[in-house]
């Protein structure tokens, strides 16, 4: 039987106590223990990007990050993006551009773009595509997603 570990996670500015098997991924803990189901479980192999969260502000795969190995690093999920009920600029731009179809990839896209636009305030569409290369949209709605990123950056679409 897997040993259970007790530890703390810093998620969206809150410190939360968690007890999980050592094998639990950050995605498992977020979804099935903390009920934060924004991050999605797609492939569970690091390919699809639907589980992407920020670790100390940097996009990582929730499914390839062991929760017990997170330690003191700050986790930001899609639930931490809106402030007081107001959507983030990326979330609003995705809505405005019509970039949400089934929505399954959207949480990963949101956190990936938030980190990318923070580091690249005026990206080209090509740079956006590279930044999103690890976020699969099986509705294949990429054109609108890239448009949304450009809108969010404040540039002309």
């Amino acid at each position: 039987m897997a040993d259970t570990l007790s530890y703390e996670l810093r998620i969206n500015g809150e410190v939360l106590s968690v007890a999980s098997p050592a094998t639990a991924t950050l995605l498992d803990v977020l979804r099935y223990q903390l009920g934060m189901t924004g991050s999605k479980r797609g492939c569970n192999q690091g390919v699809c990007g639907a589980c992407t969260v920020l670790l100390d502000g940097v996009p990582v795969r929730g499914c390839l990050t062991l929760a017990a190995n997170v330690g003191e690093r700050a986790v930001t999920t899609v639930e931490g993006m809106s402030q007081g009920g107001t959507l983030s600029r990326v979330q609003q731009a995705l809505l405005d551009a019509g970039a949400i179809q089934c929505g399954f990839c959207t949480p990963g896209v949101v956190v990936t773009l938030e980190a990318f636009l923070r580091d690249h305030p005026k990206p080209s569409a090509d740079e956006v595509r590279h930044a999103l290369s690890g976020n699969l949209c099986r509705c294949s709605g990429y054109v609108k997603i890239v448009e949304a990123a450009v809108i969010a950056a404040g540039a002309a679409p």
């Binding site: 897997a2 040993d3 570990l5 098997p21 050592a22 094998t23 991924t25 569970n44 192999q45 690091g46 990007g49 992407t52 670790l55 940097v58 996009p59 990582v60 795969r61 499914c63 390839l64 990050t65 062991l66 017990a68 190995n69 330690g71 990936t112 990318f116 590279h130 930044a131 290369s133 690890g134």
Partner: protein, 285 residues
């Protein structure tokens, strides 16, 4: 499964001496394999808190010493000051997607030893040295001897990679990494790593390695020797490619058939050599 997060190499090695223990670096392959029920370590030893494993040093000649826990994103962001560094930095930037590069590490990548991964081919081409630590201390393994087969390395039980030392390569030479993949971020169908030096319009230095075409990266000193003194024209490159293709033994898989891979080798080799040659000539006339 038990979980440990030691702060020194000595403690990590001690914990890894237990049967069934595995070390966790970036986890981008190991956790995926655990998720797929392919491995179930009895103890997982995280190397994350061992500060010295994240260290990167740049030598006065532009060579690199890269700590095992340096992420692909960190290495890809370095400014190259030598041909060896240029090659390895380019390979780091070709691995996976941004989120994978933010967590995956050089030590983890080479210890996993997927023959289609990017680092192995690059570090073999650059004649790098893998620094390994175990219960009986540290040892240094030439990269060419480190990769033994599919997912098989020279690491003994309980040993870990602690650094990769990348020599500069010849002064004035330039490195290039050419990767052919079906989609962005995937493993290579075939990859080619080269370091090329030019002098007076002729090749003065050549290192060539082929990835994803055998159980380990392929090099052939005879192919490299053939290029020396030539202007790297079509005939010279055809001759070197023939020798390298003769040493390849690719598999058929969903990324491509063995015969397709062998067909790609000469084409990608030419592309890589020409790119490195042009950079070397621009720098040195």
């Amino acid at each position: 499964m038990r979980f440990a997060s030691p702060e020194t190499i000595a403690d990590a090695v001690r914990l890894l001496s237990e049967e069934g223990a595995r070390c966790l670096s970036g986890g981008q392959s190991l956790v995926a394999m655990m998720n797929a029920d392919l491995v179930a370590p009895s103890t997982l030893v995280s190397l994350r808190r061992i500060g010295e494993l994240g260290r990167i040093e740049v030598g006065s000649d532009g060579g690199l010493s890269i700590g095992a826990m340096a992420t692909h994103a960190t290495v890809a962001g370095l400014k190259p000051a030598s041909a060896g560094a240029e090659l390895v930095i380019a390979a780091a930037g070709a691995i996976g997607h941004p989120a994978i590069r933010n967590q995956g590490t050089i030590g983890g990548s080479i210890a996993h030893a997927d023959p289609a991964a990017d680092y192995p081919t690059a570090i073999v081409c650059a004649e790098s040295t893998v620094v390994v630590a175990g219960a009986s201390g540290q040892r240094r393994v030439p990269a060419a001897d480190f990769f033994k087969g599919f997912y098989e390395t020279a690491l003994g039980p309980g040993e870990i990679v602690i650094a990769v030392e990348v020599p500069a390569g010849a002064a004035g030479a330039r490195g290039h990494y050419e990767k052919f993949a079906l989609i962005d971020g995937d493993f290579a169908v075939v990859s080619v790593a080269v370091i090329i030096g030019m002098s007076g319009g002729r090749c003065s230095f050549a290192r060539l390695a082929i990835g994803a075409c055998a159980a380990a990266p392929v090099r052939d000193p005879a192919a490299e020797a053939q290029l020396i003194g030539t202007p790297l024209d079509e005939a010279a490159l055809d001759g070197a490619a023939d020798l390298l293709v003769g040493r390849c033994d690719p598999i058929d898989d969903f990324r491509g058939s063995a015969s397709y891979r062998l067909k790609l080798v000469p084409r990608l080799l030419k592309r890589a050599v020409n790119a490195a040659k042009q950079k070397a000539e621009r720098a040195h006339g």
